[in-house]
């Protein structure tokens, strides 16, 4: 304990101010570096207006992160069920409004602000699961796993009804991460894998819409429809491939500047990075992501209670799922699903949610001393 206290002491001396605001310097540096890259690339891909817009969103997100970092994990744990219930209620409202409006509905219009409840669930679901497992012996018993599964599937089902398959899958993944870290038995994982594989054909025939099926087919053979559904992925691969080792240079990407790459400032922004900064740029970005994730896992491992550990670990791993799904899609190894590149793609709500998530991580890390004492 003395050794531990002295290390804390060192932290406080070296990073006193940051520590006082409950911020983790390493995570903060990583995130700021990532956001700087994002602004640079958004400038090239979308122009100055987009960059300014995005800066403002980042500022909002950082503010959210700082605020949440101040909230000690025990409070987060306390609020978790309430947050989850509120989220579910809003999802139901959104779905009902969507049915009335005869179309997809993802937004809740509160008059002064439009809010996407599924974004809230990205944090609320892992929080609730971490809460659920926190006071139970781990590895969990089958009944608890089943109940946890139900808690995951409820919001996932509601979001899938909107329909927003991408977000539904990401939230399922975040719940799964908690299960995994809580000690999901291997046999069950295997069985679950087989179950999902068995479920896939049912999804294909009964849930997926034509355009979604088309995306999967196109993924398997993009050249079959070069001007239609395959266009995105073909042009994106051309952009990345033509970038080569060093890239064509900032603002020099012909694929992106001449608008051959669709959605180049949102979901396909990595194609711009690959084209203008080449393999080196891509690897630097991957390294940044890896650093943030590893730091997140480290924080989780350092956490001193089960709730913090599970939540922190799940958030870090979910972040990676985002990265992998987006880059896998843009580079053509996964089908096209509407998942942005976290903290890089232009777009507001997702960035704020993600930064709020990192606020949770920072809170977990910087409130340890209080917990131990």
């Amino acid at each position: 304990m003395t050794e531990y206290s002295s290390r804390m002491h060192t932290h406080r001396e070296r990073y006193g101010l940051l520590w006082r605001f409950h911020l983790d310097w390493a995570l903060l540096m990583g995130l700021l570096a990532l956001m700087s890259v994002a602004l640079l690339v958004v400038y090239s891909a979308g122009g100055q207006d987009y960059m300014v817009q995005q800066s403002m969103r980042f500022a909002l997100g950082i503010a959210a992160m700082i605020v949440i970092a101040q909230v000690p994990p025990r409070l987060l744990k306390l609020w978790a069920p309430a947050l989850y219930v509120i989220g579910i209620i809003m999802l139901v409202i959104v779905d009902v409004v969507g049915v009335i409006g005869k179309g997809a509905q993802r937004w809740l219009d509160l008059g002064f602000i439009r809010f996407q409840p599924s974004e809230l669930m990205k944090i609320a679901v892992p929080m609730l699961l971490a809460w659920y497992f926190a006071d139970r012996p781990l590895p969990p018993r089958l009944t608890h796993i089943a109940i946890a599964g139900g808690l995951i599937l409820l919001p996932v089902g509601l979001i899938a009804l909107q329909p927003d398959l991408g977000t539904a899958l990401l939230i399922a993944a975040s719940g799964f991460m908690v299960l995994w870290l809580a000690g999901l038995p291997w046999q069950l994982l295997l069985a679950g894998g087989i179950g999902v594989a068995g479920l896939a054909p049912l999804l294909w025939y009964f849930y997926m819409l034509d355009y979604q099926r088309q995306r999967v087919l196109t993924f398997l053979d993009p050249e079959s429809d070069p001007l239609g559904a395959g266009y995105h992925i073909i042009q994106s691969k051309i952009a990345i491939g033509s970038g080569g080792l060093y890239g064509k240079g900032y603002f020099q990407g012909t694929q992106s500047q001449l608008e051959f790459v669709p959605e180049r400032h949102t979901d396909f922004i990595f194609a711009v990075i690959g084209e203008e900064f080449g393999l080196l740029g891509g690897l630097v970005l991957l390294a940044l992501f890896a650093f943030i994730i590893i730091r997140g896992l480290y924080i989780a491992n350092q956490a001193q209670d089960t709730f913090s550990r599970l939540l922190a670990g799940a958030l870090a791993l979910t972040f990676f799922v985002y990265v992998f799904v987006n880059m896998g899609m843009v580079s053509g190894i996964l089908p096209v699903v509407g998942v942005p590149l976290p903290l890089v793609s232009y777009g507001g709500t997702a960035a704020v949610t993600l930064l709020a998530g990192f606020g949770v991580l920072m809170s977990v890390h910087t409130h340890r001393r209080l917990l131990t004492s």
């Binding site: 491939g241 080569g244 992998f324």
Partner: protein, 632 residues
């Protein structure tokens, strides 16, 4: 583990979490490696291929049409020029509802039913991604209205192009030909790179014959385009090489004089400089305006031209074959002298008709039709000046068809004159072999008799006649006829093959020529010459030969009365001639279709006016020719 025994074990949970987190980190590392490998594969292994694809995306090569060479007359008068004109075009592949688009267009720009029909027809001939013309020659107002509405019509473009324009219209169409839109058949035979941006090609006449010279070479530019096909910048440009200009021997003033001399009659007037073979005037009347053909003539107007009884589309100068009649008598006389069938001194007695030995059929001389006395005794020179049929019946009979045909070939009959346009035809110079092949019949001596006065099976083009006149004029040298004098830009015209090499350096000895030319001089200048009246009061010496050719045959004793038969069956009037006699500068052939009277009264006066015009102009020493041609 028993259910009751289970409770939280912080140490075990910490290590469980550590194991799980480590496995997760391993998976994260593995998947990151997968992404990195994927990037390496795309950006290093397949880089070259994707680089090429990216360039193909952004760089497109656009052809640039060269400017078509202009056509000038000998005095620098512009005969064929390029005028800028705006047209509406549609790329069908970019339009979803073509009919609706046309309807909307019609609300702001005039689009007739005919335009629609032509558009539909042209659409079938074009690829879907190629522009198809909707309307050409938009007015300034239409251009402005469309330009401000352009956003409503994706796939429809307003293009400014240089369009061929023929300021002389119908007056020179048969001399110049015209250009029209390239059709599928032509496109297959063309160098498609060189014509990638060109819409028009020479269809007829000079425009067709000199297509290679006039067209030039296409240029191209490599442009960077964005995904909407908008040009962002030009990367590389190879300018087109403009087509070269043609400078003709033709004298537009002389052409006008010939046209006005012909009046509203149907016929041909061709004038040639006998020293070079250069064509000074080439009239085929009536003509038609070629300008609508350039952009696509509407069906109704075209139908009108096709059905006109005057057949204006028919190029009589190049395609028209007519019995040459008496105009060929000087040439036949030379043939007779060449072959020994007659001599300069030999005289025969003309009773007004000719009979083959042992045959009762009388071949009548033209004097009988006019109720004039027979010619009596005459030699070859007098026979020419009097156009005595009997003398030439006898001459042809003595030569026989084989020698006659062989001699006429020396003068170019039955052959192309080699003029630099493609449509020229050979006409028909009958031979024994021809008759066996074409008519499956033997040659009869009686048939030679009518050939002897330029009738029978013999049909010739006006080009062959003027060529014969030029050959007689310049002392027996037969040259190829040429429209184009030189090729090049206005400043540095490069002479091409002029004066032209002789095809036949000598058709007869000077002595024979002198006699025959003398006979032709008498036709025009002597008090009893057949064309004397037409040349009363000329201030130069000229020579010529009249002709009146039947277009249909009559019974032996049938009386021909032009005023009583259908106009289409009336005789054709002909005249060939040259002037001045001693040092000829112009040779002329005139043909007037279906006249009352003959060559002397219908064709000779036209030839005279042409000669008058040309010689009056050249008497002011090189007045016009040395002037700097007017530039626009």
């Amino acid at each position: 583990m028993n259910r009751r025994m289970r409770m939280k074990d912080p140490v075990a949970e910490t290590s469980l979490f550590f194991v799980r987190a480590t496995i997760a980190a391993g998976v994260v590392g593995l998947l990151t490696l997968v992404l990195a490998t994927r990037l390496f594969y795309l950006q290093i292994v397949e880089h070259h291929q994707y680089r090429t694809l990216a360039d193909r995306n952004r760089i497109s090569v656009q052809p640039i049409a060269p400017t078509r060479g202009l056509i000038y007359d000998r005095n620098g008068v512009l005969l064929a020029e390029n005028r800028s004109s705006f047209a509406l075009e549609m790329i069908p592949a970019k339009v979803t509802d073509i009919a609706a688009t046309l309807d909307q267009l019609a609300s702001i720009v005039t689009i007739t039913d005919d335009d629609r029909e032509r558009f539909a027809a042209e659409r079938k001939q074009h690829r879907r991604d190629q522009p198809v013309p909707i309307r050409s020659r938009l007015s300034d107002r239409e251009v402005a209205v469309f330009a401000s509405n352009q956003h409503r019509f994706p796939g429809v473009t307003l293009t400014g192009r240089l369009i061929r324009y023929y300021p002389f219209g119908p007056q020179l169409v048969h001399a110049l030909g015209y250009v029209g839109r390239i059709n599928d058949k032509e496109w297959e035979k063309l160098d498609q790179n060189n014509y990638a941006a060109t819409q028009h090609i020479g269809k007829l006449g000079l425009e067709k014959h000199y297509e290679d010279v006039l067209h030039g070479a296409a240029g191209f530019q490599e442009v960077e385009t964005d995904v909407h096909d908008r040009v962002v910048r030009v990367l590389n440009r190879v300018p087109p090489i403009p087509g070269r200009d043609l400078h003709l021997h033709l004298d537009s003033g002389l052409q006008m004089a010939a046209l006005s001399a012909l009046g509203d009659q149907r016929g041909v007037v061709i004038a040639v400089d006998p020293n070079t073979g250069g064509v000074l005037a080439l009239v085929s009347a009536p003509g038609y305006d070629p300008n609508p053909f350039v952009t696509g003539i509407d069906r109704l107007s075209y139908q009108g031209l096709l059905e006109s009884p005057d057949v204006p589309l028919y190029n009589r100068a190049l395609l028209g074959v007519y019995p040459p009649g008496s105009t060929v008598k000087p040439v036949l006389a030379l043939a007779g002298l060449n072959t020994g069938a007659t001599t300069i001194e030999r005289k025969i007695f003309d009773p007004g008709w000719f009979k083959l030995p042992g045959d009762d059929r009388r071949y009548r001389d033209w004097v009988l039709n006019k109720g004039l006395p027979a010619h009596g005794w005459l030699d070859v020179r007098f026979a020419i000046s009097q156009s005595c049929d009997t003398y030439f019946y006898d001459l042809a009979n003595r030569m026989g068809i084989d020698k006659l045909s062989e001699q006429m070939q020396r003068f170019g009959f039955g052959q192309l004159t080699g003029i630099d346009v493609d449509e020229e035809v050979r006409g028909l110079l009958p031979t024994r072999e021809w008759k066996r092949r074409a008519r499956k019949d033997a040659w009869y001596p009686g048939e030679t008799i009518s050939v002897g006065i330029g009738q029978g099976y013999w049909s010739a083009t006006s080009l062959q006649l003027v060529n014969a006149a030029a050959t007689l004029a310049n002392g027996g040298v037969r040259r190829e006829l040429r429209m184009v004098d030189s090729i090049g830009s206005l400043d540095n015209a490069q002479k091409v093959s002029a004066p032209l090499a002789a095809v036949q350096p000598e058709v007869a000895s000077p002595a024979y020529l002198e006699v025959v030319r003398g006979g032709m001089r008498d036709v025009v200048m002597a008090s009893n010459g057949t064309a004397r009246k037409a040349f009363v009061g000329v201030n130069y010496d000229a020579a010529g030969k009249t002709g009146t050719a039947q277009v249909t045959s009559y019974g032996q004793n049938e009386k021909y009365d032009a005023t009583k038969i259908d106009e289409r069956f009336r005789d054709n009037a002909l005249f060939i001639g040259f002037a001045p006699f001693d040092k000829p500068q112009i040779a002329v052939a005139v043909l007037v279709e279906n006249v009352i009277g003959g060559g002397a009264s219908n064709a000779a006066p036209i030839a005279r006016r042409v000669m008058d015009h040309y010689l009056a102009q050249s008497r002011e020493p090189n007045a016009k020719r040395d002037q700097e041609p007017a530039h626009d």
